[in-house]
């Protein structure tokens, strides 16, 4: 049975390559049919803010990749509810991502075999 891997993405979308390179790990895992989960935590939830425009900064638009995750077999998508509310995020652009409270995140990390927090 394949080991499951949780990726915890903590970077805002355009603070550097962090957000994109976290997503690349998820997409690669999905492409190999591995059990992968993705949690947006701290500034990572900013990747899910609605109405963003990567084009204006001449950056890659990650939202298309995010929307494609279920197609890659990655359906375990979560975000930290506290991180979102501290950052004033109401409507999130990724409808499939489930909000989690702190203790639910503790349990989530426990559920997975391995974790990468970047």
């Amino acid at each position: 049975m394949a080991k499951s891997l949780l990726i915890i993405s903590r970077q805002s979308p355009w603070s550097g390559p962090g957000a994109r390179e976290a997503l690349d790990i998820v997409l690669a895992g999905g492409a190999f049919d591995l059990p992968i989960g993705l949690l947006f935590l701290d500034d990572g939830v900013l990747q899910l803010a609605a109405g963003q425009s990567a084009k204006v900064l001449q950056q890659k638009d990650l939202s298309a990749n995010l929307q494609a995750l279920p197609m890659f077999g990655v359906e375990e998508l979560f975000y930290c509810a506290d991180s979102a509310s501290t950052r004033g995020l109401g409507n999130l652009s990724l409808a499939e991502a489930q909000p989690l409270a702190a203790e639910q995140i503790t349990a989530l990390i426990d559920r997975y075999d391995q974790v990468i927090t970047l």
Binding site: P17, G29, L34, Q114, I116
Partner: protein, 130 residues
């Protein structure tokens, strides 16, 4: 115990030295390292172009020696490497660049190798950040 060790920071970051010391301790403790995977700024550890003063810690050289002597699998993420300008001869030719900074024992490959290592190992340890 089988370890997969992933490094996300450049040679000058203290976490890179910690990764090497951990890896050495793992082998000294009789454990196995299934793969060393270098991602994000970790790809810079594979660069031949890093020049270190004689009286300072030369981490790229230490990694190279460690991987060669212990016959380990040192894999550098190709996408992260290209983005940061760490090319081997094959990629330099492909993209018609003059600068070649990555050579054996380092191997450029995809993220599949990281996933493969995670599946194979008992434990994944990541180093990076600061």
């Amino acid at each position: 115990m089988k370890f997969a060790i992933a490094l996300f920071s450049a040679a000058h970051a203290p976490s890179s030295r910690r990764a090497l010391l951990f890896a050495q301790a793992a082998l000294a403790g009789g454990h196995e390292i299934v793969r060393l995977f270098f991602y994000q700024d970790g790809v810079y550890n594979a660069s031949d172009a890093v020049v270190t003063p004689q009286d300072e810690l030369d981490l790229p050289k230490q990694w190279r020696t460690f991987i060669t002597e212990q016959k380990l699998d040192g894999v550098v993420c190709i996408a992260a490497a290209l983005r940061r300008g760490a090319l081997n001869a094959e990629e330099a030719k492909r993209y018609q660049r003059e600068a070649i900074s990555v050579s054996a024992p380092w191997e450029l490959s995809g993220l599949g190798q990281l996933h493969d290592a995670v599946q194979d190992a008992d434990s994944l340890i990541c180093f990076g950040g600061a």
